[in-house]
């Protein structure tokens, strides 16, 4: 065990301060220290993406980051993307198009997709498949995930157009 250090991170808009060993993996900080259990642990070697969160505007696999590296950062998890009163269009679309089954990959999947659509608001199917390739799903075969993201993109673009 090494000495605990003081860390401060912002998660879903809320500042969190705590003492932890530097080797604590960010995914455990979120899940066990802060009780933010939306991001999950699937592979632990940065292949599956179940732990995906957004850190300072980047999609990051939280199983492959030490809490020490995250000190001072702004983190968004699925819990910060939308809740019962303000569902994100991606959350709506995944429900509408059966983009999930067991739900284990879903928080990471949707979190990654928010970033994908931010960078590319009009993705083709191929771009979605490539842009989501860091997230593994064992249940859906991806077809309805792709469909859900396409639908959410259309919905978000229509809303944006209507607002302009």
């Amino acid at each position: 065990m090494s000495k605990k250090q003081h860390y401060k991170i912002t998660v879903n808009g809320k500042e969190e301060e705590f003492l932890a060993e530097p080797r604590e993996l960010l995914i455990y900080t979120l899940r066990e220290r802060l009780n933010i259990t939306g991001p999950h642990i699937g592979c632990e070697t940065s292949h599956c993406g179940a732990c995906t969160v957004t850190i300072d505007g980047k999609s990051v696999k939280a199983c492959t980051m030490f809490v020490a590296q995250a000190d001072g950062k702004d983190i968004t998890t699925i819990e910060g993307i939308g809740g019962p009163d303000n569902l994100h269009p991606l959350q709506e679309a995944f429900k509408e198009h059966h983009g999930l089954q067991c739900g284990y990959c879903t928080p990471g999947m949707i979190t990654r997709a928010t970033k994908l659509l931010e960078e590319n608001p009009n993705p083709t199917e191929e771009e979605i498949r490539f842009g989501m390739a860091g997230n593994i799903c064992r249940c859906t075969g991806y077809q309805n995930i792709v469909k859900s993201i396409m639908a959410a993109a259309a919905e978000m673009n229509a809303a944006k157009e209507a607002a302009e």
Partner: protein
């Protein structure tokens, strides 16, 4: 009431009953990160356990020194076999009638085997403690090949050899060798040998169905909490069969079953991985009893791939005989089954090779014989049904490959060969040569529909042209057309021949209708992503006339749910779905009496109509189910007890036999071995369709798992018994980038014996998909002389096939 003026059509739509693509009720939680999986559970004072695992595949343990580990800050206890022995828990029974070490008792039999259990205040201390445990191993010769194991002098399981060197019978009869587990036979050996011996045409092939793993995205784990004050044990875990786990825990721990509560929370995919009972569960329970604290154990991905529940690993030798015209006359199959160090296969007791005896497939084969030899090796135990009913993927792969091999021998089109051998519609119920009675089917219709949808003739013409172009040097890509027609056997099963550890494989549903016309139903099954909360409510909506949206489905808590055998082998719909319908009908029967009383007519004078009982011939006189529900609780009705509840335990009279026709078109780069799936068409017949959206989702997912298994996913060992594919770098789980879009289709042939005619669907695409992908690869090389190559068809193995056929110049 508006309700009363709605058209019948509107009333049906409002129920969201069977046949509609109802959106899933589970999804609100999951899309917002509010699922509740076992690793999300956090209890006051909870501590963590994790394993010291063997780096060797076969070794004697000379000593274990835990003293340094106990000095590691945060480490509370270290359990070894020595600590478990006084409790009689150092070994545990397996589902297959064998026993398995909970913690290494003197030796280890596979790499990754559990040697010691370190209990600590947090995961970090546990990990540090593991590093500090010193184990002195003496390496022993390693057997990773079952054929070698059957010849070797090396004894893997000394505990199964008598002191005089003789071999006591195993759970399934006599054993031929100290590394042999069982021989299991089905069919008529003599006639089959005779028919095959005098065949006009005989095709033979040996194929290896490689070892793989279900690898759900969530690994296995549990939280055990022993409350010493009231003597109750609560065990949360990734259990596909929570009730069976409760019984097993009771049997091995001696804690009475009423003092054990097993809860399966949300499960992040199972696919067979979470059927078995693992040492982690036992050690967590013991650790909780020892420390008095809740203990969490969650395996990591390497633990998962290396130790809990492999699938397949069947060496299958087939002989198939036919007339010159292609009518199959006989089938012989011998399997050498590699079960690893302990026989922990999850099969019904009387079926040590599962339902491998469905291997005559969809064909009218008059005589057949199957023999399976189970063998111990230095590999992990398991042998679960990975997204299939017991060993059905192996059976279907075997017959669908044998058909292709026979077609080559006959120089015949493989689609036509299937057509002339299909069991005909009028032959159902059909008694197969290996014993099963197929309940229903219409194979020719499905096959014709599939071939037409894909323009099969056109594809074959294109393929022939491609071969010409290849030979002329105009292309380096070959085209494969993969065919498969599968018949599954699911819904285990009738108690007369199906049990696990003596527990009959019925399932159950209990319904309570609330006074205001909503309801809760509890089942003995447990969803792992199949959407039970959505679809079982649909069955009930149609059966009892209350909207699906007003029905809560609850599973997985043994204190509240009725006893059932759980969810695997596509049994939920065939068994628990039937129980649900039957319980619903009990509700309806009582509702009918209440309605008749309220309408002041005789019971027989009212009839059920969507959401109400109406007086026959006077549809304006009715009582809705909502009204009846209220009456059940607030009116004294002579001769009828208050309340509206029902329970049904359903013992299915037969299995169900879903079937389907799949076609895959694949282009293969001969020079690199890279396959490209151009099209995949899947026609499924699962009988009555409860929710088409959910069915389609199951098909997509199962096909993707089939793609993975056929094209690269394996648990590979080196000669020393080291696992070579222990992380997701090497264990192939396809991403969105490697997966095609699928075209789905269906026919509907309801099961005649199931209350709603449903057959189960979750596993069909995997069962039918694996041979389809494999056949596509093999078919691409048929014109160049290929008969059979083993899976997985990863790049190098495809390249090897091309190379051996001389296609690299």
């Amino acid at each position: 009431m508006k309700d009363e003026v709605d058209s019948r059509e509107d009333r049906v739509a409002k129920l969201k009953g069977m046949g509609c693509s109802r959106k899933r009720v589970e999804d609100a939680r999951f899309t917002q990160g509010k699922g509740n999986y076992v690793d999300d559970i956090k209890l006051d004072g909870m501590i963590f356990g994790d394993f010291v695992r063997s780096p060797y595949a076969h070794a004697r343990i000379k000593s274990i020194d835990t003293s340094a580990a106990l000095e590691v800050p945060g480490v509370l206890a270290v359990l070894t076999a020595k600590e478990l022995e006084p409790l009689g828990l150092h070994w545990m029974p397996t589902l297959a009638g064998d026993k398995q070490m909970v913690l290494a008792d003197g030796k280890v039999l596979f790499q990754g085997q559990e040697v010691a259990f370190v209990v600590a205040e947090d995961r970090y201390a546990a990990a540090d403690g593991i590093e500090a445990v010193e184990v002195d191993y003496e390496e022993l010769p390693v057997l990773v090949d079952p054929f070698e194991a059957m010849k070797s002098d090396v004894v893997l399981r000394e505990d199964l050899v008598a002191e005089d060197g003789s071999l006591p019978d195993g759970a399934h009869g006599p054993r031929k060798h100290h590394n042999h587990i069982f021989t299991w036979e089905a069919g008529d050996k003599e006639t089959t040998d005779q028919v095959i011996g005098s065949a006009e045409v005989l095709a033979e092939e040996t194929m290896y169905y490689h070892r793989t793993h279900p690898c759900p995205l969530e690994t296995c784990g549990c939280v055990a909490s022993m409350d010493k004050v009231n003597g109750k044990l609560t065990l949360w875990g990734t259990f596909q069969a929570p009730h069976a786990i409760r019984t097993v825990v009771s049997l091995i721990s001696g804690i009475e079953e009423h003092n054990i509560r097993v809860i399966s929370p949300d499960i992040g995919g199972g696919f067979g991985n979470k059927v078995g009972a693992y040492p982690g569960y036992v050690c967590s329970v013991v650790a909780s009893i020892v420390t008095g604290k809740p203990v969490k154990w969650i395996e990591d991905r390497m633990d998962n791939l290396m130790t809990t529940a492999f699938a397949r690993d069947y060496w299958m030798k087939g002989r198939i005989s036919a007339t010159k015209e292609g009518k199959i006359t006989g089938l012989h199959c011998h399997v050498t089954a590699d079960h690893g160090g302990f026989d922990a296969c999850a099969d019904p007791t009387k079926f040590p090779a599962g339902f491998m005896n469905i291997c005559t497939g969809s064909y009218d084969i008059p005589t057949a014989f199957l023999e399976v030899d189970g063998v111990y090796t230095n590999k992990a135990p398991g042998g679960v049904s990975y997204r299939c009913s017991f060993r059905v993927t192996e059976a279907v792969y075997f017959i669908e490959r044998m058909i292709e091999v026979l077609a080559i021998k006959l120089n015949m089109d493989a689609a036509e060969l299937r057509r002339i051998n299909f069991i005909k519609k009028e032959q159902f119920p059909y008694k197969a040569a290996l014993g099963w009675e197929y309940d229903s089917g219409d194979y020719h219709t499905a096959w014709d529909k599939a071939l037409q949808a894909m323009d099969y003739e056109g594809l074959r013409a294109e393929q022939a042209q491609r071969v010409d172009d290849f030979n002329a040097g105009k292309t380096r890509k070959l085209m494969g057309i993969g065919l498969s027609f599968f018949t599954e056997i699911v819904g285990a099963g009738p108690v007369k021949n199906c049990d696990i550890l003596g527990l009959g494989m019925f399932d159950s549903c209990e319904i309570r209708i609330h006074p205001t016309g909503s309801a809760i139903a509890r089942l003995g099954t447990i969803s792992q992503g199949q959407g039970h909360a959505t679809t079982f409510a649909q069955i009930l909506a149609t059966e009892i006339g209350l909207p699906a949206d007003s029905i809560t489905i609850e599973e997985g808590d043994t204190d509240t749910a009725p006893y059932g055998l759980g969810t695997y082998g596509s049994r939920s719909t065939p068994v628990a779905g039937a129980a649900t319908a039957m319980a619903g009908r009990k509700i309806r029967a009582k509702a009918q009496m209440i309605a008749a009383y309220l309408l002041e007519v005789h019971d027989d004078d009212v009839e059920f109509d969507v959401d109400r009982f109406v007086v026959k011939g006077a549809p304006e006189r009715f009582k809705t189910m909502k009204e009846i529900a209220f009456a059940a609780y607030n009116q004294a009705i002579p001769g009828i007890e208050p309340g509206l509840e029902a329970v049904s335990y359903y013992d299915p009279p037969n299995m169900t036999y879903p079937f389907g026709a799949y076609v895959c078109v694949m282009d293969i780069d001969v020079d690199t071995g890279v396959p490209d799936i151009r099209r995949f068409y899947a026609l499924d017949d699962c009988g009555t369709r409860i929710n088409p959206m959910v069915i389609e989702g199951q098909i997509h997912g199962g096909l993707t798992e089939a793609l993975a298994v056929a094209l690269g996913q394996e648990i590979a060992y080196d000669d020393m018994g080291n696992v070579k594919t222990g992380t997701l770098m090497d264990f192939f789980l396809p991403t969105a980038w490697e997966v095609p879009n699928y075209e789905t289709d269906h026919t509907v042939t309801p099961s005649p014996h199931h209350p709603i005619g449903a057959k189960g669907v979750g596993e069909s695409p995997h069962v039918g998909g694996v041979p389809c992908f494999s056949n596509a690869v093999q078919d691409a090389f048929r014109a160049f002389g290929n008969t059979h190559t083993n899976m997985p068809h990863d790049h190098w193995r495809i390249w090897k096939t091309a190379n051996e056929l001389g296609l690299h110049g």
